[in-house]
Amino acid sequence: MIRVEQLYKSFGPKPVLQGVNLEILDGETLTVIGGSGCGKSVLIKHLVGLLRPERGQIMVDGVDITRLTEQELTKVQGRFGYLFQGGALFDSLTVGENVAFGIRHLKPMPQFLLERRVSETLAMVGLSGVEPLKPAALSGGMRKRVGLARAIAYAPRYILYDEPTTGLDPIMADVINELILDLQRRLKTTAIVVTHDMKSAYKVSNRLAMLYEGRIIQVGSPEEIQHTTNPVVRQFITGSSVGPIKVPMAGPMSGKSQ
């Protein structure tokens, strides 16, 4: 179980997280929704210790990871799989080596098993025979799927998906959605998805949480969120430009303000 308590983080003078409270139960898929730049990536980077908060606690299986040293953190990180927003594939390695990377360093196994695991995992994300390619030879959507294969190859307990469907065509997006559901059903993985794709959010989540102005303003099941009375959440899920959410407009007076 993961519990986030009163998490604060700013970059320089700019506050990003201002007291986030959130609980992720074992086996569930929780989706964090929120506008671009509201701090969704920053929030999940804290969960694996990639960023350190100014204040607050992050309890992972009963341990506050904000207080761990780098060495101790490495052990915790082995329990997490992380799909990065842009894939973050190692471009000096082949696709196969990328997918094998986590297994090599976290759960070593004999070479023949490793190779089989790599091709199985790639097949799960709808790719096969791409092992010898370099990431530069792949399309954006393929890169994302390889990134996903790399994150799940070593069967982590928790998987963090940073915008798994952004930039994919609708069919491929649905393949990824099915995959997230499948992993949850078969491997009982706990997942935290970050997205602003509402279709995907409704489909994969047990619960949704809306991040707005540095705080979680509502948590609930997909039905509860769909029938919310909170005007901010309403505006976001219906995708309307009219409402309480301030939309920074391009114009001569924009720029440093906001």
Binding site: T74, Q77, Y82, F84, Q85, A88, G102, H105, A151
Partner: protein, 268 residues
């Protein structure tokens, strides 16, 4: 009145203070990077080290050959003319060319060339990895960027730069001999006798410095890459600054290292 004084005095003081804090912080981070690199030295994958040795060492041979060859040649040319003016004949070309190369120009020029070629590429590569979240990905996949990226580059640099230096010294001396023999008519036995007079500790003087320069190059480049700013602009800035900073550090530290080594009796 008081307010006026304050408004004049405060900005430069604030600027200085901020500069000082930034520098102190950078020094702290560099020290940490260096310490981590040393602690992980033995836990490195041989495959990665080999790849870096090829990249850093082998690929630097052509440019090192050219620079040192022409440096040796121009040294012989100029020494010959200068000493002709003083002694009426081209004396001591072998000694001047040999000693300058072995103690100073070999190590410094090789380091400067490597800083430009290798320092830039390390900073750009690591910076790009930082910007595209590959460094974060390394963390989440159970490795530390310093261990996986900095350590192999460190080992490769610290072994290959002295090797390149020895090679540069030899090529430079050959170039010097060629010009001394052909242009100034120095007999080959005279030239090589003078080269043979170079003491072993004088060679150590150059080699020790080249190891220090290698450390400067690789630590600066890794630090600049790891702390790279956002986007393509950040990578560009990290690359430039890695090259400039390491070149300045090489030339400045060269003086102090030489003085210290001579004080220790190495290469007096």
């Amino acid at each position: 009145m008081k307010e006026g004084v304050r408004s004049v005095v405060e900005p430069p003081l604030r600027w200085l203070g901020e500069r000082f804090l930034t520098l102190a912080e950078a020094l702290g981070q560099v020290t940490k990077l260096f310490r981590q690199t040393i602690t992980w030295l033995y836990k490195v994958e041989a495959r990665n080290v080999m790849a870096q040795m090829v990249e850093i060492g082998v690929r630097s041979f052509p440019v090192t050959s050219l620079t040192s060859l022409f440096t040796g040649m121009v040294l012989a040319l100029q020494t010959g003319f200068s000493f002709r003016k003083v002694f009426n004949e081209p004396l001591y070309i072998g000694s001047v060319v040999g000693l300058s190369l072995v103690k100073e120009l070999g190590p410094v020029l090789t380091a400067v060339v490597v800083a430009g070629r290798v320092g830039a590429s390390i900073a750009a590569e690591l910076g790009t990895m930082k910007v595209t979240e590959q460094l974060d990905a390394l963390y989440t996949l159970g490795t530390h960027p310093v261990r996986y990226l900095a350590v192999p580059r460190f080992i490769a640099c610290v072994t290959m730069v002295p090797l390149l230096t020895v090679y540069a010294d030899s090529i430079g001396v050959l170039g010097g001999f060629f010009v001394a023999f052909v242009r100034h008519g120095v007999p080959s036995s005279v030239f090589w006798d003078e080269i043979r007079l170079i003491k072993l500790h004088e060679c150590y003087h150059g080699l020790i410095k080249s190891i220090a320069f290698a450390v400067i190059i690789v630590v600066t480049a890794c630090y600049k890459g790891f702390t790279c700013g956002e986007g393509a602009e950040g990578v560009g800035r990290a690359t430039t600054s890695a090259v400039v900073v390491s070149m300045v550090l090489i030339l400045v530290s060269d003086y102090f290292l030489s003085a210290a080594l001579v004080a220790l009796g190495i290469g007096r």
